[in-house]
Amino acid sequence: MIDMTVPPDVPDLPRHDQLVEERLVMWYFLAALGYLFVSLLGGLIMALQLVHWNPHDGMEFLSPGRWRMIHTNAIAYGFITNSFLGALHWAIPRLTLRPVLSRALSYFIFVAWQVVVLSTAIGILCGQAQGVEWGETPVWIDPLAQVGLLLVAINFMAPIVHTRGPLYVSLWYFMAAFVWTFLTYAMGNFMPQYFVSGTSAGAITGLFIHDLVGLFVTPLAWGLMYYFVPILLKKPIWSHGLSLVGFWGLAFFYPLNGIHHFLYTPIPMFLQYGAIVSTIAVELVVTTVIINFFGTIWGSGRALVTNLPIRWFYTGMVFYFLTCLQCSMQVTLTFQKVIHFSDWVVGHAHLVMFGVFGLWFFGMMTYLFPRLLRHNWYSRELCEWHYWLSAVGIFVMAADLILLGLFQGFYWVSLQPWDASITVSQPFWIVRVFAGLAVIAGQICFVVNLWKTWRLSRNDQEHVLASTGPYNPSWTGA
């Protein structure tokens, strides 16, 4: 592993600029932030619709039903995927000390992927969505996305295959994720569309929804945590044995979880039981990973206050533990009777996608943008606002929706008129609008800060290059 503090003229190590195409990392992050705002807009439209405040009700291209799908797809394929690709273009070459297969291919993938995501958004906006949850990408884009995923895997595997000996934890996760993402996308988008229908297709779409979280987002994100956290804390991961347990436990149990999205459907009951048991097993595995990371920060707790990326990462980990703990309960048939179909699940999904992975990406961006721009953040205060508005906003939203889910579930079980469950939801949905607005305000702080930093970096180019250290952001990392 190469450290930022290693001087560039050590003979045996390749220089940073030979390894990392910084411009590409930057562009990926900017694309990710662009799609994040598209997704936030979709969420806002849906939230306003539910409380009857939608000013554009009845306009086809602002239809909340379509924007709900843009909301989830822009997060998965726009925000999360672009953030990953950006961060991986930084992490993998620096871990393996080799550049990716080809810079030209990297730029081609960047452009191609933006075309895929934009076409997805436009296709959904024109009412061509595919009936696969989280895979609403119109059917004519699916083959393109599949080829894109293959190219991504080839481009990143090139430096990894040349490494010798046992690999570092992050690379286990990355390698497995390249295989899993490709297989998951193929399974979820083609099988229920062309090969199977009905109940067995339900089992497959269940696997797809969950594998997209568990075999694409989760392993890549944990791989990046295993990379960034030791660098920022300047010490190794606490226990190598627990790293092994975490990876192999995830690899075995996570793919078996999918059917828990469709409990009490006509899918055979023994498969549902299997999914439930595996899901609870995942919670145990997750606990070992969390213990490992808290063992790592043990003794350096002060970093949570002083080091902003570390604070983002560990807040995300606390939320991760909470969502997984929640998951191990909500997956049981007893909980399902009440909370299935309710906003409980929506709260859970927001806490895990934004509260965990979103927060981690913001941590990586807070760490990497000053290095990419060769300039400190314009304002630490705006960074702090970004953190507090995002973390508190999403926590309030999730808590609000999870509590609401209990109300909705018990209203339904008690056979009250359907409208009663809508009426009881209104105050919670109003709280959700304001929690969402807080999250949006946090992201606006972030982009304003980024814009100002970029302006400063342009103006101060000469000054920065003349100074000894290009960046000295103690509170954004090492």
Binding site: A176, V179, S197, P417
Partner: protein, 218 residues
């Protein structure tokens, strides 16, 4: 094995994924392989045709313009278009299509969902759904009239106060008495849901809160 490339790629990446795929996806496919997948033509039934003819009777000009005659073939065509509208508009993100055997659901919605009901072309991809902002729709057919659905799509709050459902004026040529191709198709699709059941049509079976709270002996 646990820290090198081949172990991770072959055992973790491919092996465990295939194990899960075989046990969780291939097993149900094999279990239900004796249930043939029906086409849209095969799922058109008399209950649905009655509603389809009623649409022709109620909106003759619009019907003639978009679907011609109310034949079973045109009904199947309407079902396919209606399903695409249902998916494209994201209806399935707020309305589920299965009744669970728990939580009093069979008392509210009707018979519990069975595999055989989903073995048809219109459930490709399957539309179980994972969220209910609005009611489950798998037994909705025949429960409400075609013109109720037309007005409801045009402006849901005019029929159910406080409904957060969005308006769909693009299902109409200007007014709720002029459903266009998408409007007629999606109404046909909704009327199809549950029309294959013996218990069709199924009316929502609940008592008002006053009645629930009152003493039945009084």
């Amino acid at each position: 094995m646990f820290e090198n490339k081949s172990g991770i790629l072959l055992i973790g990446g491919l092996g465990f994924f295939l194990f899960a795929f075989l046990s969780n996806a291939v097993v149900p496919i094999l279990m239900f392989r004796h249930l043939p997948e029906k086409t849209a033509e095969e799922v058109v039934n008399e209950n649905l045709l009655y509603q389809f003819e009623e649409l022709n009777f109620r909106y003759p000009e619009q019907f003639k313009k978009y679907f011609g005659e109310p034949t079973p073939e045109n009904c199947a065509k309407a079902l396919r278009i209606g399903r695409d509208v249902y998916v494209g508009e994201g209806c399935w993100h707020c309305h589920s299509q299965f009744v669970r055997p728990v939580s009093n659901e069979s008392r509210r919605w009707g018979p519990v969902a069975q595999t055989i009901e989903y073995q048809n072309e219109l459930q490709r991809p399957v539309l179980f759904g994972t969220r209910r902002v609005g009611p489950d729709l798998s037994r909705e057919g025949g429960r409400r009239s075609n013109d109720w659905h037309a007005v409801h799509f045009f402006d849901p709050s005019s029929l159910s106060t406080d409904s957060p459902m969005p308006r769909y004026p693009w299902f109409f040529d200007g007014s709720p008495d002029k459903p266009n191709e998408r409007g007629l198709a999606v109404i046909t699709y909704i009327q199809w849901l549950g029309s294959w059941l013996e218990s069709y049509p199924l009316y929502e079976n609940y008592k008002s809160i006053e009645e629930q709270m009152s003493n039945p002996l009084e």
